[in-house]
Every structure is written in C-alpha cells, then in structure tokens.
Amino acid sequence: MPRAVRGVLITCEPAIKSIIVHLDSENHDIIIEDLDETHLFVKENMIQVLKAKLEEHLKETYRPEEPLQDSDKEY
C-alpha cells in the first residue's frame, strides 16, 4: 500500500539545491527526500525557516559591487 506524505516540492537550480542540502546537514530538519539535481521534497512547516536561512546564506556570499555605507563589516 503506497503512502502519501504531505510536504513541499522545491524546484531550483543545482547551486541553490546544494546550499539547501548544506543548510539541512546542520540539523537534518528540512529535507524529507532528495529527489534529483533540481528537486527536493521538504517539510511544509520549515519553508519559512528555509527561506530565511537561504537569504542569510546568499547575503553572506553575495558581494554588492559597492560596499554599503552602513556596513559593519571590517575590511
């Protein structure tokens, strides 16, 4: 008898997928099934947390062309 599991399908490019897999590896509380290179099946209640974490991660790795005036980063 097959089972139906409720969740969210994420479709993304491989680069984004690898970031999500990395974020999940901390607590293993996001991904239910790793489907293929561009798809993940994740917990519905973790979507907001995932988006926040992803944004944070992108912010860390993304360098604007000009540094912001109020940036508190030390160079």
Binding site: P2, V8, L9, T11, I32, H39, E44, E55, Y62
Partner: protein
C-alpha cells in the same frame, strides 16, 4: 533595503515551491506505473522518478479514490 529586494529576486528566480503530496512505498512497479499515469492523466502530476518509484502531486483526493476503487475491484 535595495540589497534585500535584490536578494529576494535572486531567490524567486532561482527557486519555486509548491505544496502537495509525495507518493512512495509502492508494492509493485505496476502499482507505481498505474498511479503515476493516472496522476498525469488528471493533471496533478508535478514530478516523478520511474527509477526511484516516487511521484509528487499537487492534489491527492482523486488518487486516493482511484486507489480505493482499484482495491475494491480486485
């Protein structure tokens, strides 16, 4: 703020999410094939892997009913 908007655009372009149901643990390849074909037919199939025997649908009610009718037909 501008930076944040840019980040969101980046994410939205690169990632989409959809709520639904993943069907798994099929008893046989035949059962998987029959159900995934039916899901495709009624237009709820969003992703599938014949190799893994898994598929994702946006709605599951019709498939549940189809599964029941298959059971009772046996």
């Amino acid at each position: 703020v501008v930076d944040q908007i840019r980040l969101w655009q980046l994410e939205n372009e690169r990632m989409s999410t959809q709520a639904g149901f993943l069907f798994k643990d099929f008893d046989s390849v035949e059962e998987y094939t029959a159900l995934s074909s039916y899901a495709e037919e009624i237009g709820v199939l969003e992703w599938k892997s014949d190799k893994k025997g898994l598929f994702f649908v946006s709605k599951y009610e019709q498939i549940r009913d189809y599964l029941k009718s298959r059971k009772s037909a046996k």
